[in-house]
Point group: C2
C-alpha cells in the first residue's frame, strides 16, 4: 500500500530529524506540526513563567522585606526583655522547625498520625495535593510513600479521567437535550446541514456540545463549589473569604502549598460533619478543576494551532522559523488547511477543486476530509526524495476514490458513524483547526493494548 | 438510520439511569460498563486509602509521639534555664510561625521573592508541585495566583500531554526499529499475522509497542533521573540518599510536600549551575513520572476491565452487583466479549458463527470487530422496550454487511488504516480487554471542537 509507504517514510524522516536534534524552532530542517506545537508551547510557558515571576516579585517582595524587618524586631525585643542568648534562642527555633516537620505547633493541632490524620495525609498524596502539613519522618515511611504514591497517583489520575469522561457525557446529554428543545421550539431542520438528514433524531445524534460551553459550565461549577467551600472554611477556620477562596484554588488545583490547610485544629463544632464536608468539597473541587484544566488545555491547543496556522499562512516564504511545516501522519491536517476548512461541512465528500488549487482527498479518522496541500510544502530540503511516494499515495487514494465514489461515500458514512458513536454532524460554530488533547487521546492507538477501543 | 436510533435510545436510557441515581453498584437497575468501572475504581481507591492510612499510621505515629515528647522537653529546658515566661515564648513562636509563612528561617535562606525565587515559585505553581516554601502573602498576590494558576496549570497539563505524545512516538519508533531488527535476524514473516501482508514494511507499519514495555522503559528512565538527581541533591543539600530519593519522588509526582525543598540555601558552590540543574531535573522528572503515571493508569484500567469481565462472566446470574452490564455505545465492548476475543485477529472479518452463539458484526472504531451479545443481555428490566430497535439495528448492519462484503472488507481496511495512522496489526500479546485512558482520549469526539482530529 502506497499509503503505508508514505507513513513509514514519514516516521523514518521524523526519526532522522529527531536524531539530528531537529526540535529547534529556527533550524532550516523541516519541522513537523507536533514538534512545532510542542516547542511553541514550551516557549510560551517559559514566557508566561518569566512574566509571572516578574509580577509576583513586584507584588510580594515588599511584603517579604517588611516581614523580615518585623521578625528581626520581634526577636530583638524578646532577647532584650528576657536577656536570652541569641544563639540559644536560635537553637530553640531550629528545634522548633524540626518539631514543625513532625506536625507540632504551639497551638495544639489535631494529631497527625492517628487514623483520620493519616487518611487525610494519604488523600493529599494520591491526589498529589501534598499540603505538607503531615509528612512521613521515618525512613520506612518515606520509602513506603514512594511505592504507595506510584500506584495511588496513577489510580487517581485514572479516576479523574473517568470522572472527566462521566461529566463530559452528562454535559453532552444535558446540552443535547437543551439543543433539542430549542430545535423543537424554533422549527426543526433549520440548522440541519446533513445531506441525508432523515428527521430530527438524525440531526441530533451527532450533535456535540461546544468546548466553550463545557468550559463555561465547568467554570461555573468550580466557582460554585469554591464559593460554597469558602463560606464553610471562612466560618470554621476564621479565615478571610479571600483566604478561603485562595485555599480552595490551591487545594482544588492540587498545588497544595500548605500555608493554609483546612481541618487542622484539634476541635471544631460538629467535627465529624466538618471533616466529611471538607473531604467532599476537596474531592468535588479537585475533579471539577481537573476537568476545567483539561478543557482549557484544549482551547490552548486550538490557540497554538491557530498561531501555527497563521505563521504558516502568512509567512510560508517569509518566515524562517517554519520553513516546511507539514503533517506527520494522516490524522493531522495542516493548520492552514484547517483554517481554510473553517466553515466546511466535515462529513461531505468535497469536490476536489472547490477549495484547493491542488487538492488531495484524504480519509481522516474514518470520514473524508479535504486537505489542501500546496506543492510548496513538498518542495523543501530533505523531503524532496519523498515526492514520488507522496504523489504516489495521492494518486492511489484519488483513483480509489473515483472508482468507488458512491459506495465509498456510503460506507465511510456508515463506518465513521460507528467509529464515532453516532453520525458526525457539522453544526454552527464548528471550527476546523481544533483537536482533542489529553494524556491518552495521545496514547490511543499508539500502544498495543490501547488500540482496540477507547 | 436504525443504528442511530439505537444510540439515541441508549443515551436516553443512560440518562434515565443517571437521573434515578443509577451509579450505585448494588441497585437492581442496569449499570453500564463505564459507570461500573468508575464505581469499582472509586471503591478500590477508597480501600487503598484506608489501607494506606492504617500503614502510615502504624509507621509514623510512634515517631510523632516521640517528637512531641522531645519538643516538650526542649521547651521546658529552655524556659527553666533562661527563666522565660512560657506565654511570652509561645507568642514568639507564633510570630516565628508567621515569619515562616513569609519564608523566613533562622538559617538564612535565599530571598523568596527576588526574580529567581519568584521564578522557582511560579514553576511550582504551574506544575502543581506547590512545595509551599514560598507562598503569596498579600491579598493581591493571592488573587493574582488564582487567575495565573488557572491558565498556567492548564497550559502545563497540555505541555505534559504533548510531551507524553512525543515520548510515546519516540519509544514506538525505537521499539519498532528493534522489532524490525529482530524480525530481520530471526526470519521475516514468521510473526506476520496479517492476511494481505505485502512484505516486511506492511507487517511493521501497524506494529505498536506493548504498554508494558513502555511502562518498563519509562520506569527505568524515571529511576535513572531520580538516582542522578538524588546524587546531586545529597551532595549539594547534605541530605541522606534516601531523603533525596524521597524528595525526587515527591517533587516529580507533583505532590510537593515542602518538607524538603532543593536549592533553598543562600549560597551553594557553583550556584548558577546547580539552580539550572535543579530546574532541569525537576522538569525531566515531572514529565517522566507524569508519563509513567498515565501508562500505569492504562494498566489499572485494563485490570478494572478484567475484574469487570470476570464478574460478568462468572456471575451473570449469581451476582446482584452487575445484573445487566452492557455496552452504552458502539465503541465499548463488553469485557466478557473482549475476553473471548482475547486472541482473535482484530482486522479480520470474522465469520458470524465462529465465536458467538448469536453473533453480531459490529464496526468499531473503523475496523470490524466481532462482538458477542448473548440474548440474556437484552432481556433485563427497562431494556426490553429496546429489543426491536436493537434487533433492527442488527439486521440492518448484517444485511448491509452481506450485500457489501467484499467492498466493505476492502474499504474498512483502507479507512481504518487512514484513521489509525497505518494498518492495524494484531501481533503476539494483543490482549483484547484493553482501552486507552486519559484526559482527552475521553474528550475526543465528544465535543464539537475535538472531533475533527486528535
Amino acid at each position: 500500500m502506497l499509503l503505508q509507504w508514505h507513513l513509514g517514510a514519514c516516521a523514518v524522516l521524523m526519526a532522522q530529524r529527531r536524531a539530528a536534534g531537529g526540535c529547534c524552532c529556527c533550524s532550516r530542517a523541516p519541522l513537523n506540526e507536533d514538534n512545532a506545537r510542542f516547542c511553541l508551547l514550551a516557549g510560551l510557558i517559559l514566557l508566561y513563567l518569566l512574566c509571572g515571576a516578574a509580577i509576583f516579585s513586584a507584588l510580594e517582595h515588599p511584603f517579604e522585606l517588611r516581614a523580615r524587618l518585623l521578625w528581626k524586631q520581634q526577636l530583638e525585643n524578646f532577647t532584650r526583655r528576657y536577656r536570652v542568648n541569641l544563639g540559644a534562642l536560635h537553637t530553640l527555633l531550629r528545634q522548633y522547625e524540626q518539631a514543625n516537620g513532625a506536625g507540632i505547633r504551639v497551638d495544639i493541632l489535631r494529631p497527625r498520625w492517628d487514623f483520620s490524620g493519616a487518611f487525610y495525609f494519604v488523600g493529599t498524596v494520591v491526589s498529589t495535593i501534598g499540603f505538607g502539613m503531615t509528612t512521613p519522618a521515618t525512613i520506612a515511611g518515606k520509602i513506603f510513600l514512594i511505592f504507595y504514591g506510584l500506584i495511588g497517583c496513577a489510580a487517581t489520575i485514572l479516576f479523574f479521567n473517568l470522572f472527566l469522561e462521566r461529566i463530559i457525557t452528562m454535559l453532552a446529554y444535558i446540552m443535547r437535550w437543551c439543543h433539542e428543545r430549542r430545535l423543537r421550539c424554533g422549527g426543526a431542520g433549520v440548522m440541519s446541514s446533513r445531506e441525508e438528514s432523515s428527521g430530527e433524531e438524525d440531526s441530533l445524534e451527532g450533535w456535540k456540545p461546544s468546548v466553550y460551553y463545557v468550559m463555561l459550565i465547568l467554570g461555573l461549577a468550580s466557582v460554585l463549589i469554591a464559593c460554597s467551600a469558602s463560606t464553610l472554611y471562612s466560618s470554621m477556620e476564621n479565615w478571610s473569604y479571600v483566604d478561603s477562596l485562595y485555599f480552595c484554588f490551591v487545594a482544588f488545583s492540587t498545588i497544595g502549598f500548605g500555608d493554609l490547610v483546612s481541618s487542622q485544629r484539634e476541635h471544631y463544632e460538629s467535627q465529624g460533619a466538618y471533616r466529611l464536608g471538607n473531604c467532599l468539597f476537596i474531592l468535588m473541587g479537585v475533579c471539577c478543576i481537573y476537568s476545567l484544566f483539561n478543557v482549557i488545555s484544549i482551547i490552548i491547543k486550538q490557540t497554538l494551532n491557530w498561531i501555527l496556522g497563521k505563521l504558516v499562512c502568512s509567512g510560508q516564504h517569509k518566515l524562517c522559523s517554519f520553513p516546511c511545516l507539514r503533517t506527520k501522519n494522516q490524522n493531522q491536517k495542516r493548520p492552514a488547511a484547517r483554517l481554510r476548512l473553517n466553515r466546511m461541512k466535515r462529513n461531505a465528500v468535497q469536490p476536489v477543486s472547490t477549495q484547493c488549487p491542488i487538492g488531495r482527498q484524504r480519509y481522516t479518522d474514518g470520514s473524508v476530509e479535504t486537505v489542501c496541500d500546496s506543492e510548496t510544502d513538498a518542495g523543501a530540503g530533505a523531503e524532496v526524495h519523498l515526492g514520488r511516494r507522496l504523489s504516489g499515495e495521492m494518486i492511489s487514494v484519488n483513483e480509489f476514490m473515483v472508482s468507488n465514489k458512491v459506495s465509498l461515500a456510503l460506507l465511510q458514512k456508515q463506518l465513521s458513524e460507528t467509529a464515532h458513536q453516532g453520525p458526525r454532524q457539522s453544526y454552527g460554530h464548528q471550527n476546523g483547526f481544533s483537536g482533542g488533547v489529553g494524556a491518552l487521546g495521545i496514547m490511543n492507538n499508539r500502544l498495543q493494548e490501547t488500540s482496540v477501543d477507547r
